[in-house]
Structures are given as C-alpha cells and as structure tokens.
Symmetry: C2
C-alpha cells in the first residue's frame, strides 16, 4: 500500500530507527547514510501516516494556546464555537486547546497573556494587535519552536506562520458593490467606522473607496464618524452626522456600534429612506436586519475561522511542513433578511 518508514528502511538498507532519526533531523547519523535515506524517502514520496503519528504523539498531548480579544463579544463566541469543534475532532490525537480572552486592544496586556502561555504551549493562535512589540514576541516564540497563527486579523512585519481570516479589503469592496446595487448607484452616504487602530477596519474603508472610485461615480461620501465599538458614542455621533447632512440616504457601518447607529437613524425619522450596509451577524445586527433598517450585512464566517485555525495549527504540528499558503482566506458572505430570519417567524 502506501509508503512507510519500514519500507524506506528496507530499501536503503538501514533500520527503522535510523530512518526515523534522519526524517526528524535528530542527528547522530552518518551524513552519507542520511543522504541515502533522504533520497529514498524523496523518491518514494514518503509522507508520515497521520494515524500512526497521532498515536505516538498522543501521550505528549500537545497544548494549543488561543488568545482572543473582547471578552463576551458575540462575534468571538462564534469563533470559540469553531475552535471547540476542531478541538473535539482532534481530541483523539491528544490535542488540548486553552483559550484566554482579554478586553480592549492594549499590547502590554496581550504581551503578558502570551508570556503566561509561553512555556506550556506548542502552538499559539492569536488575534494579534498590530504592534511592533507583538511582532517581536512572535519572532522570539518562533526561535523557541512555538509557531504563531494569526487569527481573524493579520499583523504586519511578523514571522507568524500564516493568517486565517477574511480579506478585509475585499469585504469593503463588496460593501460598496451592494450599496450601489441597493441605491441604484446614486447615494449620499456616511461612514461609521470602528477604531482606526484596527488594521481590518482601515482596510475595509480602503476597499470601499477603491471600488467606489473605479465603478460608482454616483456614490458620494458626506461624512465619516468614529464609533469605537461604543453604542452610546455611536448614537450621539450619528445624530450629529444626520443633523449636519439632512440629505444623507445611506450609511456604511464598518464595525461595532451598530445598535447606536440604527437607533439614531430611527429616532431621527430617517428609517424609511436610509440604506444601511453593515458587517457580521451578531444578534443586534440580526435584529436590525429583521426590522429592515439594515438592508444587507457582510459576514466573515467566524465559526469557520476558529475551526480552520486550529486545524492548520494541527497540520503544522503534525507534519512540520510549511502551509501551502501563508493566507487562508474565508469568504465574505452577503446576508439579507431572508438569509437570517425564517419566513414563518
């Protein structure tokens, strides 16, 4: 059947142990022998059997550490669900997953959480803050043999193994496209952004703008407000924006503060004529889609993100082989009322 260590041993005239030492770079093998073994393995197209490896590796029961932001955040609850799914699938392989959550976006805090994990874990799954100190930490972890996978958001200039998440720029492009479709290509819109310190949010806005410039001259941006994921602030800022721009007929909500923005629109009596496009499908957003005030929302498949990140971590842990790509992109799904709410409700 398929090629095993035993077969390689026979064909290269050495014992299983020697082949094992060569293939796992454990040294203590004569260079010539090693070369011969490597050659045979190469020619036969050897790849280690997952089941066998898992069984042997089981007793070590590797620990994967996960650090997520925003405790109690509905979006990341879905990510956690995906992580738990993957954990259940991998339990038989001895894998354990430990999750830590943090509030806010403070690099020092994140650094401290990483250090608490540092000498217990075999892999780190991180929703990284885009800060140079975090990037450096990822580098030093790599030196110690602990690879990091960036989850949900990427980090610049780091040696993370790969990124698992959505393409934020593309999500902004799609948002622009759907807004154009919904308004017949003519709208005076405002943007409610999350925090500028989040890489993804800026990328969304960039994507929106580039498509707008290239294809939809009838879309005109009137204002941009920062909501900082805070509903009260979002409400007040939106009220102010609507007062300043009575001709506004569309809003692009980049991240948090959905509830605040929508409430402001309703209170101002603009519910009917306003076209709102937002992101994700946390309960608050679904409620607003159901009510019809949000026309479309673009979702990132959080469950799949969590699942895939753990799977990719496992793949690397088991095989030691670099992933095929350093970016695993999950699709941006457009959802409307009929996608989210059952008809008989």
């Amino acid at each position: 059947m398929s090629v095993t260590i035993k077969k390689i041993a026979e064909l290269s005239g050495v014992s299983r142990g020697t082949v094992d030492r060569v293939l796992n770079n454990r040294g203590n093998v004569h260079p010539e022998t090693a070369e011969r073994v490597r050659k045979v393995a190469q020619q036969l197209g050897y790849s280690p059997n997952l089941a066998g490896k898992a069984l042997a590796v089981r007793k070590k029961s590797p620990l994967f550490g996960v650090i997520l932001p925003s405790e109690g955040n509905a979006f990341f609850d879905d990510v956690i669900a995906g992580i738990r799914n993957a954990e259940a699938e991998l339990r038989d392989f001895g894998v354990r997953v430990e999750i830590r959550t943090m509030r806010g976006f403070d690099p020092t805090r994140q650094l401290k959480l990483i250090e608490e994990f540092e000498d217990r874990i075999s892999m780190l799954l991180l929703v990284p803050i885009n800060d140079v100190r975090i990037a450096e930490k990822i580098g030093s972890l790599k030196e110690k043999g602990i690879p990091t996978i960036a989850l949900n958001t990427d980090i610049e200039n780091s040696s993370r193994l790969c990124y698992v998440g959505s393409d934020y720029k593309k999500s902004g492009e799609i948002a622009c496209g759907i807004m154009a479709l919904l308004t017949g290509g003519r709208a005076n819109f405002g943007i409610a952004t999350g925090s500028f310190r989040m890489l993804g949010h800026s990328q969304r806005i960039a994507g929106f703008h580039s498509v707008m410039k290239a294809r939809y001259p009838g879309l005109k941006m009137l204002d941009i407000i920062e909501t900082n994921d805070d509903d009260i602030q979002a409400y007040e800022e939106t009220c102010r924006m609507l007062r300043n721009h009575p001709d506004m007929d569309a809003i692009f909500i980049v991240a948090g503060g959905v509830y605040g923005v929508c409430r402001a629109v309703i209170r101002s009596g603009y519910e009917e004529r306003m076209t709102i496009v937002s992101f994700d499908d946390i309960p608050t957003t679904v409620e607003m889609v159901e009510r019809g005030i949000i026309k479309a929302t673009i979702c990132q498949q959080p469950v799949a993100q969590g699942y895939l990140a753990v799977r990719k971590a496992f793949d690397y842990y088991i095989s030691g082989a670099e992933p095929e790509t350093d970016r695993f992109i999950l699709g941006n799904e457009i959802k409307i009322r009929e996608s989210l709410v059952d008809i008989d409700k």
Copy 2:
C-alpha cells in the same frame, strides 16, 4: 487521560478482547458480562480513539463510491474538488474514493451504476434521482450494511443515512428577498426554471413564492418558462417570453440555461433595465455577473458539499454512530460582481 478499551476492561474485570467483542457486537459473550461492560463504557463516556481505530482498520482500506450526475458540469467539478480534498485528508486512514459520473436524470441508468458498485463499496455517496426505485435500492443497500448519503439533492421516502447539501427552499426565499431589494420592491418578473423533475428546482420556486406572498406585494409574476438546462432552448423560450411581456423588468433563473437567457435579454435590448437573479457561480454565470447583466447569484458552496459528504461518510464508517442530524445544510451565499471579480481586472 481519556478512556480506552483497556481501562474499561480493568474496571469491569474482564479482558480487552471481551470488551472489544461487546462494543462491536461480535457475540460470544455472556449476556451478564456484556451488560456490565456496556454499563462501564457508558458511565465512562467511552468513544473509540480515532487514531487507534484508523490504524487497525487501515489494511481493510474501505472504499467509498460516489455517483454524480452531469459529466463535465462545472458545478459538479467543484463538488469533485471537495471530495478530493477530503480523500487526501483521509488517505492515511486507508480510505479510497471512487467517482462515477452519468449524463441526464435516468433512474435506470443510475440504478445500474449503483449495482456496479454494490459489492465493492462500504459507503455510497449519491446525488439521487427522486425516484421510488432509487429509494428502494437505498433500502436494500442498507440491509446489506452499505449506508447511503444523499449529496446535493435529497430523495424522498428513503432510508438514506443523511443529506448533505443546501436548503433549496431557503435559496428561493433569498432569491426573492434580493430581487425585492434590487428592484425597490416593485417588479414584473419571469421565471426560467430548470427541469421540473428535479426536486430542488421546485423547492426553489416554492420558496420564492412563499416569501413573495408574505412580504413583497409589489412583485408580480408574468410568465414561467422551462429551460431544461439547455442554452438554445433557454434562448428561444426567453425571446418568446420577452416578446409576450414587453413590461418585464426582472428574471429569476432557477437553474441551467443561464447563458441562453442572458443572450436573449441582450439581443432584445433589455440589458439596461433588466434585473436578473440566478444561482451558482459556474464560469458562464460569473461572466454575466461581471458584465453586470446578472446582479446577484446565490451559491451553494459545492466544494464544501463534496468535502463534508465524504467526512460524514467517514465519521459514520469509523464510529458506527448515527449522525447528530439527518440534514447537514450548507449556507446559501449571495454573490455580486465584487464578490466574484477582482477590482483590478
């Protein structure tokens, strides 16, 4: 750590062999002993270790048979890609997958393909024709210990293990919702259906209608034509429909014939004012979305369908446990130009 056969053996005072006989219903065990063992296993929450099982089961190298319709169909090429992904993941567990494709929707032909598989396979993955003879065949396969998984389309009144695919009714509902959003809730539309003999197509139309009735009184259906997945027929029928209904401003394409319908619309000079909603994202459809004539298309995640079906087959083969649910539903994704085409193109 986790609970193994050995541990159960110790706790119930018998040997590993006996526990194995009980858990795999292989007989030759005293009823009282069996009962005791079962109880201990139950209490400890035993579930067999996948890696161990796979290693043992490997030499038998189970064969999964797959039967798909429509040779050379772009949609099913994606399903096949998903199947191949899963196969690669499971190769180390000894799993092999063999795929057969057929043309058309002839039950006799499908029956014959199944019979060619019958005494070689451990599992059947089938895109079933909704016919009583197929349902009966699924029943007799089950008797012989070969479970069937319905893929992409379900089959009524059969004993298939489970269904993996999309919710067609829901996809019709979403199609109606997006059409209403794109037309401001007012449109005179026509339907181009695939084949009425396909269960999924009827369900899509039913979903469309039920949402229309419940929510969008401004949508008015003028005509319905059958395209039978044939572009030439679709072209001619569409031309006829457009002649008969000069006030038509939207078309709902349920299945095949996309190219024919779109060509007819272009030739008739209605490209500008027409709102077309279709399904799937095969190359022809993508081309029309790029051109802007199709505004939105609702996709079934064919790759995920193929992947998941094989995984579910494996899960059942390994564990013998009934799946958690008998319907594994993959989401219907709305895609627009920006989802499908890169901005810099």
